[in-house]
């Protein structure tokens, strides 16, 4: 369950609309925003892959330019990787017949 703190950069005219849309996304919490179009959010997701998905979704919203990561903690996911409970899917190039 990684936790990430982000600043979403939006067009100031669209900030309120984006905030509403963000509030509807599961795992996303809006903390604050300013008149320049910055929105501070925290994303809590099941896995970092899910977090990547959510960030992609946010970045493709109308009125959003970038989703900048400021802080990320993945301590329990790292533990899972170590215990072998979760294998990050990295496409490596093994010579597996398929």
């Amino acid at each position: 369950m990684p936790i990430g703190g982000f600043v979403v950069q939006t067009e100031p005219a669209a900030t309120e609309k984006v905030k509403k849309e963000l509030a509807c996304l599961q795992g996303v919490e809006v903390y604050a925003s300013d008149e320049k179009g910055n929105i501070v959010i925290v994303i809590e997701s099941n896995s970092s892959d899910d977090m990547e998905e959510i960030v992609k979704k946010i970045t493709s919203m109308e009125g959003v330019f970038t989703t900048g990561l400021a802080y990320l903690n993945a301590e329990d996911e790292v533990e899972k990787i170590e215990k072998g409970e979760y294998i990050p899917n990295i496409s490596l190039g093994h010579n597996k017949p398929h």
């Binding site: 300013d34 990547e52 970038t66 990320l72 790292v78 990295i90």
Partner: protein
């Protein structure tokens, strides 16, 4: 009190993000400060692209578990992108290589061997090849992801020890044309300015780069500038593909692939004919040149040359949405803005005429004086984290030695030999094979042993099947150093497991001439070793095998040093103090001590520690800012072009005609195929990619098709489409959208599945100047083969 751990971490995350934009939150964490989120934070750089973002790696129980940006850093101002997450996924990944693997023949299975055995084999094979077939029968192929210390020591052993200049690396595939452009236009490699120009620019000219996706952290800075000054700042995007970058532009110029050289010359035409140029700047600092002989010509000749590129003529060549009016407007915005900054990447570099395309961008800046002043620069963005620092500066290509020295110049070779304490004449005068030539030499049986470090040419070379055939030859011994198995380890005899970023120490030099240190923060998996240790041990064995004390001399200063910090530090000291001394990339002030003390490293030239501690040189060539400009000044003018390549100390405006791509569409192959690179050769695909929902998160490569073409060919979203060129074919799902211009399709490189490895289709034509292949354009045909199909991922199971 009584915050749960998760609530505590969430608040930490929120407070960190809020602090970036100066926002107050209704809570603090003073009371909980003792409940630290990690044991320690170790400051380093991200290794996943050339932006050079600074970050702290959070270490808990000896493992990397968290990341945060460094707000004081002048590269990223604290922001990171999602690629950074690869860190911890890679560090503890169960598939990491941890044992040397060997097989005598490539059709045999690998067996685990000890490091001693592995290094002996590597030494025997290279020594054997040299003895039987000569020094040029061995080669090194490196990476823009390797640390500077690694590239430096590899090339030192190859050139000084094994007496060959067969030293190349994957930056040839993405940067070589930018190098050629800077050298021929400004006389010196690498950008004059910095990211700091972004906040002072009034016009952005983004060409051949989808920076919104490829360099999101820099794009954020650019957007901030635009949002804060919506009326003052103009953004022009020049690209055959509609992208998130083009969507924010004030003007998107969309054209037939490969015709942008005509647009650039047409903009110059407008600048000259409508008198938008800076006459004094040109008179003071520039000359006009043409042809292979670099013949100097006059202004009138240039003006005459441009007559072939009236906006009307160019618009006819370019197609798309290009009109004469658009070209005129773009030229006016570019020339008249108080400060214009151009930014580009592979769309310009990966071209048959990549150097020329670079020259033509530089021309616009020289003509209009949009250079050297705050906010104005001609700025090439780098894809890989250390293509600039390690490979361009550290001697990682076949024709260059460390410190921006050309192999072919005897005086410069002698300087290097002297610094290394090896006999004069030891480094051969002839440059080695460039990348495509190197793999062609393997095909031809001329290379008997090659060391491939931290890259996967079996996937990343254009027309890959042709070169994979050569690499599978039994008479070419292949060593691969990497952290994971790749398409290239499949063709290796010996695979050596290496330490990853933050598991070892070293320097990266990012896009803006900035060197930054990443110290070791955690141990590598047991069995994996840093490359610098591997090379040192290998060289000592080579010296014995070949009974050659000079090889030993190449690593003598490093014998006995502890591998995690002392060894790379000794290598960096030698490189920076001896090899960059009095060169344009003078890094003598950027010692490990200084680099450690800076939030964001040092920009060269930085000849002294005192100057390095100010951050170094923000703008090259400007007196009062660049210490070398003062030291090398030959007159009173404020700008001094002391770069090594232009003896006349001038900027060169080039007469470069429009040339189309090497392979244009025809009746048989009617489409343009363009491709995009993702830097890592072990790219993450998301777990959700296993769900056969084709378009989710782009886990697989897909082919982008324009809706008009899709309609004509009966292709629906998600349909399986065959993309075929004269060299090979792929079958990929279709993404139908207004991305590529009509008549063009686009595919990313990241999928290693045989059906979707687009470099089996691309062409290996290359720029005659830079030798960089034209990944961006070739001809293909496409057809629908079936409806949507669940795809098999290419993964470790």
């Amino acid at each position: 009190m009584g915050l749960s751990r998760r609530e505590f971490l969430k608040r930490t995350a929120a407070l960190t993000a809020a602090s970036y934009v100066g926002l107050e939150l209704p809570f603090t964490l003073h009371k909980e400060a003792s409940a630290a989120d990690v044991d320690k934070w170790v400051r380093g750089s991200c290794r996943l692209c050339g932006v050079g973002c600074r970050l702290d790696l959070g270490v808990k129980n000896g493992r990397g578990v968290a990341l945060r940006g460094v707000p004081e850093s002048r590269t990223n101002l604290g922001y990171l992108c999602m690629k950074g997450m690869l860190f911890y996924k890679v560090m503890g990944h169960p598939e990491r290589l941890t044992k040397p693997l060997y097989r005598e023949k490539k059709d045999q299975p690998f067996k685990e061997i000890s490091w001693d055995e592995a290094l002996d084999i590597a030494a025997k094979k290279f020594a054997g090849a040299v003895t039987a077939y000569g020094n040029d029968s061995v080669a090194y192929y490196g990476s823009g992801q390797a640390l500077t210390e690694e590239t430096y020591i590899f090339q030192k052993v190859m050139r000084g020890g094994l007496k060959t200049n067969n030293v190349e690396g994957n930056p040839r595939l993405c940067m070589a044309s930018a190098v050629g452009g800077y050298l021929t236009s400004f006389g010196a490699d690498e950008p004059i300015g910095s990211y700091a120009d972004i906040e002072k620019a009034h016009c952005f000219f983004i060409i051949g780069s989808n920076m919104a996706e490829a360099h999101p952290v820099i794009f954020r800075r650019l957007m901030r500038r635009k949002l804060d000054n919506p009326d003052k700042v103009k953004v022009i995007n020049v690209d055959p593909r509609v992208s998130p970058t083009s969507r924010i532009a004030d003007m998107h110029m969309q054209f037939k692939p490969g015709t942008d050289l005509a647009i650039l010359n047409a903009m110059a035409y407008v600048i000259i004919n409508e008198k938008l140029y800076d006459e004094k700047f040109i008179n003071d600092y520039a000359v006009f040149r043409m042809g292979k002989e670099k013949k100097q010509v006059d202004f009138a000749a240039y003006k005459k040359f441009l007559e072939d590129y009236t906006p009307e003529k160019a618009a006819a060549i370019c197609g798309g949405n290009i009109t004469p009016e658009k070209i005129r407007t773009a030229a006016h915005w570019f020339a008249k803005s108080p400060a214009t900054m151009s930014l580009w990447t592979m769309g310009i570099n990966q071209r048959k005429r990549g150097v020329w395309a670079n020259n033509l961008i530089h021309n616009l800046h020289i003509l209009t004086g949009q250079l050297l002043k705050p906010g104005a620069d001609s700025f090439s963005l780098t894809g890989q984290p250390n293509a600039c620092g390690g490979v361009r500066e550290g001697g990682g290509l076949c024709h260059i030695l460390p410190g921006h020295r050309l192999v072919k110049i005897e005086k410069l070779r002698n300087q290097v030999e002297e610094a290394w304490g090896i006999p004069k004449g030891r480094i051969p005068p002839k440059p080695g094979y460039h990348t495509v030539a190197m793999f062609e030499a393997i095909n031809a049986g001329k290379i008997k042993a090659i060391w491939i470090n931290c890259t996967s040419p079996a996937q990343s070379l254009p027309n890959a099947d042709k070169y994979r055939k050569g690499m599978s030859r039994e008479d070419c011994f292949i060593v691969v150093t990497d952290i994971f198995p790749t398409k290239t380890t499949e063709l290796a005899n010996l695979v050596l497991p290496t330490a990853f970023h933050f598991e070892k120490t070293g320097v990266y030099g990012c896009t803006e001439r900035r060197s930054q240190l990443t110290p070791k923060a955690i141990d590598p998996p047991k069995g994996a070793k840093p490359e610098v240790w591997i090379v040192r041990e290998w060289a000592l064995r080579l010296a014995k095998e070949l009974n050659d004390p000079v090889i030993k001399q190449c690593v003598a200063p490093f014998i006995g040093k502890e591998e995690g910090y002392e060894l790379p530090k000794a290598i960096w000291d030698e490189y920076s103090q001896k090899l960059t001394k009095n060169r344009d990339n003078d890094l003598r002030g950027a010692t490990y001590e200084v680099l450690k003390s800076m939030p964001d490293g040092v920009q060269w030239p930085a000849p002294t520690e005192a100057f390095a501690k100010t951050g170094g040189t923000v703008k090259k060539f400007v007196r009062g800012i660049d210490p070398l400009a003062d030291k090398e000044a030959k007159d009173d003018k404020p700008y001094q072009f002391y770069g090594p390549a232009h003896k006349d100390r001038k900027l060169w405006i080039w007469l470069r005609p429009y040339k189309g791509p090497a392979e244009a569409p025809d009746a048989e192959y009617p489409f343009y195929l363009s491709t995009g690179r993702i830097i890592d050769h072990w790219h993450t695909t998301s777990m959700t990619g296993r769900i056969p929902e084709l378009m989710r998160a782009n886990p697989y490569a897909y082919v982008e098709v324009n809706p008009a073409d899709a309609k004509r060919l009966g292709i629906k979203p998600g349909d399986m489409v065959e993309v075929e060129s004269r060299r090979g074919k792929n079958v990929l799902p279709a993404k139908v959208y207004e991305g590529p211009i009509e008549g063009m399709v686009f595919v990313y490189w990241h999928d290693m599945h045989e059906d979707r490895m687009i470099n089996r289709v691309t062409k290996d034509a290359y720029d005659p100047g830079s030798k960089e292949p034209e990944f961006k354009i070739c001809a293909c045909r496409i057809k629908r083969v079936s409806g949507p199909k669940p795809l098999k991922p290419y993964i470790v199971t």
